[in-house]
């Protein structure tokens, strides 16, 4: 496991105004918590961006160095981003202790995706359902990511948390039957006579509405009620 280092600046003032002033000055407001103490800090925006690129999306232990020379190990717990400007608004660091176990979330990456049997032979689709899993380990054993080999996956098969590769001193905390990745059968194409009107509205079963409301059923009776309005 590689440990990264980052310089931090302690700050006294908190709140929206001081956070905005910090961002204007090229720093990102942050908080460090865990191990009983919680404090507000700031980090250089450029330094953190470089660090984030270096980590590359994997899990990593970051050594925070303050102005007085004190150091502490921590994890990047959460990064708040501006959805439109794509800038970082705030960072949460969780302090951890050497030799003590802690819980964290680690990315799951698919290996040999192109060699998947179900995709190559039967034209299936890989359905990556869970991108992160929760694990418990010591700082020295923290994996960068969890590699999942999907080359042997056939149509209708799935890889669950219990099937994940066993890593030294790493315990998976999620539900053992939680599906991580599965291989779905291909959707059968409808006969296409005219390109303009070939695909009817209900013919594409692989589409899901992200928000799970119960609006899908019984739409017809409401539309009749709508039509009864004043004219």
């Amino acid at each position: 496991m590689h440990t990264y280092s980052l310089n931090i600046f302690s700050r006294e003032k908190t709140g929206r105004g001081s956070a905005r002033r910090l961002r204007t000055a090229g720093r990102i407001p942050a908080a460090v918590y865990g191990r009983g103490n919680c404090r507000s800090i700031a980090v250089s925006a450029v330094d953190f961006r470089n660090l984030n690129r270096e980590i590359g999306g994997g899990a990593a232990v970051v050594e925070l160095k303050d102005e007085k020379g004190g150091t502490s190990l921590s994890l990047v717990q959460e990064i708040q981003r501006d959805a439109v400007k794509d800038t970082i608004n705030h960072i949460d660091f969780q302090e951890i202790e050497r030799g003590h176990e802690f819980n964290t979330r680690v990315r799951v990456t698919l290996v040999k995706e192109a060699d998947c049997v179900g995709v190559k032979n039967d034209g299936g689709v890989i359905d990556h359902q869970v991108y992160e899993v929760e694990i418990r380990c010591r700082p020295s054993k923290l994996p960068d990511h969890i590699p999942v080999d999907v080359s042997a996956l056939e149509i209708g098969e799935a890889i669950c948390i219990k099937d994940l590769p066993e890593l030294e001193a790493v315990e998976y905390l999620g539900e053992p039957d939680q599906v991580i990745v599965s291989c779905q059968p291909p959707t059968v194409a409808a006969e296409t006579t005219d390109d303009a009107e070939a695909v009817a509205a209900d013919e594409v079963p692989s589409t899901k509405v992200g928000r799970d409301d119960d609006e899908a059923a019984g739409a017809a009776d409401d539309s009749s009620g709508v039509a009864d309005g004043k004219s």
Binding site: V125, Y131, S206, K208, A217
Partner: protein
């Protein structure tokens, strides 16, 4: 079939204004790629359907598509050549209120190139500017 709520508490609602940016529904939640709105506006159920059909055709039914918005808001219109008054018009269409940053569609199970092309085609059906986002970009 057009998207619309199955049951609503009130048949007609006020027009409203679209203030601020999306504070939720602004990140990739299901797929690997998506399009995110950059401006604000309304997206009708017909536009959602047109974009969905464009995407699924482009992906040749291989990938998986998620629609992250739903047209909850009824929009009314008075009939043509009608004098003012006599109450509010009847519901003409259903729209989704879109703020900057809203994730509109997500795609998975296909290559980045195929997803980019599918989402570009979907973008052409929409009345506001969008951008392509992927999980790798978020790192």
């Amino acid at each position: 079939m057009a998207l619309l709520p199955s049951r609503t508490k009130y048949r007609k609602v006020h027009k409203g204004r679209i203030y601020g940016t999306a504070q939720k529904g602004n990140t990739l939640a299901f797929g690997e790629f998506g399009i995110q709105s950059l401006t604000r506006g309304r997206m009708t159920s017909q536009q959602i359907e047109a974009a969905r059909v464009a995407m699924t055709r482009s992906l040749k039914r291989k990938g998986k598509v998620w629609i992250r918005v739903f047209p909850h808001k009824p929009v009314t219109k008075k009939p043509a050549e009608t004098r003012m008054g006599k109450g509010k018009g009847s519901v003409e269409k259903w729209v989704a209120v879109i703020k900057p940053g809203t994730m509109l569609f997500e795609v998975a199970g296909c290559s980045a190139t195929a997803a980019r092309e599918a989402l570009r085609l979907a973008d052409t059906k929409l009345p506001f500017h969008c951008r392509f986002v992927s999980r790798e970009q978020e790192l």
